[in-house]
């Protein structure tokens, strides 16, 4: 009954949080959202970035953009602590930090003409804070690109049946966008037609895998990110994310159903293993990798990023989402609701399946099926799911849970076919999450890069060249590719690992620190600009400070135990990013304290 209990707890917590915390408190008491106020999407419409969208379309875009591989890879990695602690962190972080942070980022941006959260930081903490934030944000986005290039490339290389649908999704999305926006075809009709094409593509991709090497995929994805980020949002981003949302909802709905179908069966995994894990979980290698210094607190933010909370969301929220919001009231569904949906992905589609299928032999004995033999056919010989890389842990766990559930209805004869089908489906969902994030990240990195040259003093000609849309996109992509391209040889495992195993903790750390800083900015906006007073201000301030302390400590662990063990390329790029970020972090704390003092 454990699976059903988790389902009920998750649904109850999210339902109550959405209604009372999101709608009653944040929307009505803190921000006082007004449906009659004209939003920047309408006021500053430009046909490229400022374009109002239907709230469900925007929810789809926002959810698909924020839900990169973060809600999947992080919780999958964190299950080495047992499944209990990661689940608690996801639920706690989601409701009290992540969703609040996302909602306030969108609304602060909307009230600042759709400009980025960095502009808000300038208004509440001064110009220096904005410059520091922009540098910080650009570095964080480059690490997002690097980590996601690597995760997606590794998934396409491991499950080549997921690739054709990615290629076919592009023309189908364009077709949908052109039908709706250019020819005014009814959205429902266009959706049905497009989803039929998506279903056909999914079945085709089973039979026609696309093979490229890991490095080849990194380059293809980098090219995609570069091109897609420069296209108008209505043309690809809105329709693609809207259609993608159906795939992602199907993925989440099936996770719900799967959890119900396995009701009555026990989990094969432990609720708790050990509070301290080897530093290798943070990407450390050699002797340092064996040191048991990765204590759940404070290092958990270096592992679980978007599933609980994410600074990247403030960039999406204040970068692309706020520029498409047609009505202020839509922000609760899009921002707060989007984050809770992402938490549901982590808790029900990642942590619960891994907890259930943990020990393959035990699972086989329980369902009376030779699970270990079936897995050996596709090259999985590890006795437990913890022996797999994080991405593989996710799609193997999801598929085994689904196969168990559905075989209880249709018989054990369907077990293997269900497993194969759901494995491809889960890997497709993972890559869909990531690909949507790749062009949003690059678009945002371009905004940050261009904004940076408002302060860096160069000649007008040089500035024109450096802030050119294409060049600005290219810079972030190049650094991302340099980090993601190599596969790293780990002598103790005698195999190559995709670069994300090293980049992930650096990306996650920078991302979580960004969340703390942006939540501090949003808290200051609530206090200084909205003039909210009393206990309600602590609802944002306390989580922000808790997160700041946690992540700052975690990054020191990374600097002292992980960085020295890495190859030189990662010390010089990821390492320098983290050290600069840690320095800027303290500067921003000073600006924040000054901002609070001034607004008293």
């Amino acid at each position: 009954m454990l699976s059903l209990l988790i389902l009920v707890i998750v649904a109850a917590i999210y339902g109550v949080a959405y209604y009372f915390y999101g709608r009653k408190l944040l929307e009505q008491k803190v921000v006082k959202a007004d449906p009659n106020r004209v939003t920047p999407a309408v006021e500053k419409f430009d046909g490229v970035d400022y374009v109002p969208a239907n709230k469900y379309v925007l929810y789809g875009h926002h959810f698909a953009s924020i839900a990169g591989s973060g809600p999947i890879i992080g919780p999958a990695t964190a299950t080495v602590f047992g499944w209990g602690l990661p689940l608690i962190w996801v639920l706690f972080g989601n409701v009290f930090i992540g969703a609040v942070h996302d909602y306030l980022s969108i609304m602060a941006s909307v009230r600042h003409g759709g400009l980025s959260i960095m502009t808000v930081s300038e208004n509440v903490m001064g110009k220096r804070a904005r410059v520091v934030s922009v540098i910080y944000v650009w570095m964080a986005l480059v690490l997002v690109l690097a980590a996601f290039f690597s995760v997606a490339a590794s998934t396409f290389a491991s499950v080549p049946q997921t690739a054709l649908i990615m290629f076919l999704y592009m023309p189908i999305s364009l077709f949908f966008g052109i039908l709706v926006y250019r020819y005014g075809v009814n959205v429902k009709l266009a959706t049905v037609i497009s989803l039929v094409f998506v279903a056909i593509s999914f079945f085709m991709s089973f039979y026609i895998p696309v093979y490229l090497t890991y490095e080849g995929w990194v380059l293809v994805l980098a090219g995609y990110s570069f091109v897609a980020a420069a296209l108008p949002v209505w043309y690809l981003l809105q329709p693609r994310d809207y259609l993608n949302a159906y795939l992602l909802w199907a993925f989440v709905a099936l996770a719900f159903i799967g959890v119900i179908l396995i009701a009555g069966l026990p989990f094969t995994g432990p609720i708790y293993t050990d509070f301290a894990q080897p530093a290798s979980i943070l990407g450390a290698m050699g002797d340092l990798g064996r040191a048991r210094v990765a204590y759940f607190w404070p290092v958990i933010p270096l592992i679980i990023a978007c599933g609980a909370l994410s600074g990247f969301h403030s960039l999406v929220g204040s970068g692309t989402t706020s520029k498409q919001l047609a009505n202020e009231l839509d922000a609760t569904l899009v921002g707060y609701g989007g984050m809770l949906t992402e938490g549901a992905v982590s808790s029900l589609a990642v942590i619960t399946p891994i907890a259930f299928v943990w020990d393959f032999a035990q699972l086989g004995a329980m369902v009376n099926y030779p699970v270990t033999d079936m897995l050996a056919k596709i090259g999985i010989r590890a006795p437990t799911i913890i022996g797999l890389a994080a991405a593989e842990r996710f799609y193997t766990g999801y598929a085994l849970l689904q196969a168990t559930g559905w075989s209880r209805i249709f018989g054990l004869g369907t077990f293997e076919a269900s497993f194969i089908g759901f494995r491809v489906f889960a890997a497709t969902a993972l890559t869909a999450f990531i690909v949507t994030t790749l062009d949003t990240s690059n678009r945002l990195a371009r905004f940050a890069w261009q904004e940076l040259f408002n302060w860096v003093k160069v000649s007008p000609g040089t500035k024109k060249v450096l802030t050119n849309r294409w060049l600005a996109s290219l810079v972030g992509v190049i650094v991302g590719v340099v980090l993601a391209y190599p596969q790293i040889y780990v002598p103790e495992l005698n195999r190559f690992l995709p670069a994300y195993s090293v980049i992930w903790p650096a990306f996650a750390g920078l991302n979580q620190l960004l969340a703390a800083l942006m939540l501090m900015t949003a808290s200051l906006w609530v206090y200084a600009v909205l003039k909210v007073r009393g206990g309600v201000t602590l609802l944002t301030l306390v989580p922000a400070m808790f997160l700041w302390i946690t992540v700052t400590l975690a990054l020191f662990v990374w600097i002292f135990y992980v960085m020295p063990s890495l190859p030189m390329l990662y010390i010089s790029l990821a390492g320098s990013f983290i050290i600069i970020a840690q320095t800027l972090n303290f500067l921003l704390l000073i600006f924040f304290i000054q901002g609070i003092r001034k607004s008293k």
């Binding site: 004209v38 309408v42 006021e43 419409f45 046909g47 374009v51 109002p52 080549p160 690739a163 054709l164 290629f167 076919l168 592009m170 023309p171 364009l174 052109i178 709706v180 926006y181 250019r182 005014g184 085709m204 039979y207 026609i208 895998p209 696309v210 093979y211 490229l212 090497t213 490095e215 080849g216 293809v220 090219g223 995609y224 091109v227 897609a228 296209l231 108008p232 209505w234 043309y235 690809l236």
Partner: protein, 80 residues
């Protein structure tokens, strides 16, 4: 027809041909590309994707009428 539109049509057509070719060949061979290599057909479908992304943007790249009408109704301003 403007040059931009012509280039857009050409790129769209090229992209669709590359898709069609690689999918037909892939269907006959059971895969696009060869495991462990960067074979030409897998590269061609990637190039097809870029052409399909850029082509229609050049060809049909103006602001959509439906969005224009919505903005004009909300702001009362006439868009150029």
């Amino acid at each position: 027809m403007k040059t931009k539109e012509a280039v857009g049509i050409a790129l769209t057509g090229l992209g669709l041909i590359l898709y069609l070719y690689t999918i037909v060949i892939g269907g006959m061979r059971g895969a696009i590309g060869v495991r462990g290599t960067n074979e030409i057909n897998a590269i061609l479908i990637s190039l097809g994707m870029y052409a399909v992304l850029i082509g229609p943007a050049l060809w049909l790249g103006e602001i959509p009428v439906a969005i224009k009408k919505f903005i004009e109704a909300k702001t009362g301003k006439k868009l150029s």
